[in-house]
Symmetry: C2
């Protein structure tokens, strides 16, 4: 397999952990060096995550409520639809998809979550998760018990502000997806999707032009409201036009400008 540089999977791998707060049910897997750290203060994602702009003392208080080291294997569920809501989660490494099971059997993917992103906010409103969330690859997360986050947010204005912003960003993102689904052609959806993944990887310091897709074509199709076949055909077509290179799940964005033209400028 041609290695598309150090993509997603390699970043952020788990914590070295002197004082491991391993929980009883926490899986095995030994943690690699350098990492996202055992504390928010030493996590390389902290400028993209809940702790933005917290001072040292504040970050320590946040650290105290964060539960780390709950690595998940591919296919493990982080939570399931209808589960009681207790926590939100920050993706530390790996990736997740959220999905709902339609009554007609087929699952529908509602989101993908990459390192530095927050998953689980679908349970805040009615204290029950509206989606299931499943690891697309080996992954680790920080669990943030919501009640404690609320309490701490009362004491730390910056934390409250950050969390409002994170939720606001989720709302804005969902509305953008709404626009994509309600008005873009299949080709525009795919181009937009690739550019979106690209900038989300860029955000955590990974290459915006060469990356690994952790999800299947089927997942992408469900997310974008297309069939697997259409996704596959369009990736092939974009490659033939030299806009991208595709090697199974390794993607290279060869001509980002023309991809942006396809989606029509004002996309993410």
């Amino acid at each position: 397999m041609p290695s598309v540089e150090s993509s997603n999977n390699s970043i952020a791998v788990d914590a070295p952990s002197e004082h491991d707060t391993h929980r009883a049910n926490a899986p095995i897997v030994k943690l690699c060096p350098h990492s996202t750290g055992v504390s928010c203060g030493s996590c390389r994602l902290n400028e993209l995550c809940l702790p933005i702009a917290l001072n040292e003392g504040e970050m320590e208080q946040l650290d105290n409520i964060v539960e780390r080291n709950r690595p998940l294997k591919k296919g493990d569920h982080l939570y399931r639809q209808h589960d009681g809501f207790k926590s939100i989660f920050a993706v530390r490494s790996g990736s997740f998809k959220s999905y709902v099971l339609s009554s007609s059997g087929a699952g529908r993917v509602t989101g993908f979550y990459l390192p530095g992103e927050i998953i689980g906010m679908d349970g805040i409103a009615d204290r029950t998760h509206a989606n299931s969330a499943i690891a697309l690859e080996h992954a680790s997360i920080c669990e943030i018990p919501f009640n404690q986050l609320e309490s701490l947010s009362l004491k730390l204005p910056v934390l409250q502000h950050n969390f409002f912003s994170i939720m606001g960003a989720e709302i804005t993102k969902d509305q953008k997806v709404h626009t994509i689904l309600s008005s873009y052609s299949a080709e525009q959806r795919i181009a937009s999707f690739l550019l979106g993944i690209s900038s989300r990887y860029a955000r955590v310091g990974l290459s915006p032009t060469r990356f690994h897709l952790p999800m299947t074509r089927g997942d992408i199709g469900e997310y974008l409201g297309l069939t697997v076949e259409t996704v596959s055909r369009l990736l092939t077509a974009l490659q033939k036009r030299d806009l991208i290179e595709v090697d199974n799940r390794e993607i290279a964005l060869v001509d980002k400008d023309r991809l942006k033209e396809i989606v029509g400028a004002d996309d993410l």
Copy 2:
């Protein structure tokens, strides 16, 4: 004739209104809440809005930051895309749509907002509104300056909790829309839309079976990713099957159960 608005129209007259458009950053004539007879405490929507479960003293503090009496005429903008974000708004009467202008000219409706609902959260994340919001009919709103809401939320745990819940509900709702747009047929979308409007009216004490649609067929189409023609055809078709009655924008849901069957059970 059942109509969306009604209710709080008793409250005060207009701001000076030399200009038709009340922009978010336009000067506001703030009247003392008690002189208008309207305060959160006396608002019939207060159990559905920000003040849920606030005690008297807390509600008074909220009242002090809420700016009321900004009636808008049909077609007035509440804010425009790219406007600086200052406030969120609670719809008191009337209704709004939010939309974005695509580079390709056509506007895309991203949401409808009915009495008791909060509009403007699309600006929280990056302090700039991602959408425009326009009144679909004569409407009045409560403006809640966001910075003050944040400050007050630090002091009133229940208020903070409520606002987290409201944002969470928006996220959950957007994800449901995602599912609708990515996997429902045109007929399912229309049925689901009608049921959604129905329960939103029911929430504020209006009839869930007979109501007025404040938006055009075109708006509905943009929102649902369908053309005007398809929306029109499907409403006619549902009427022919005796599931609904349509008289221009007056809708009666005749057979809610079969509408639910169409969308496949687990819808709103």
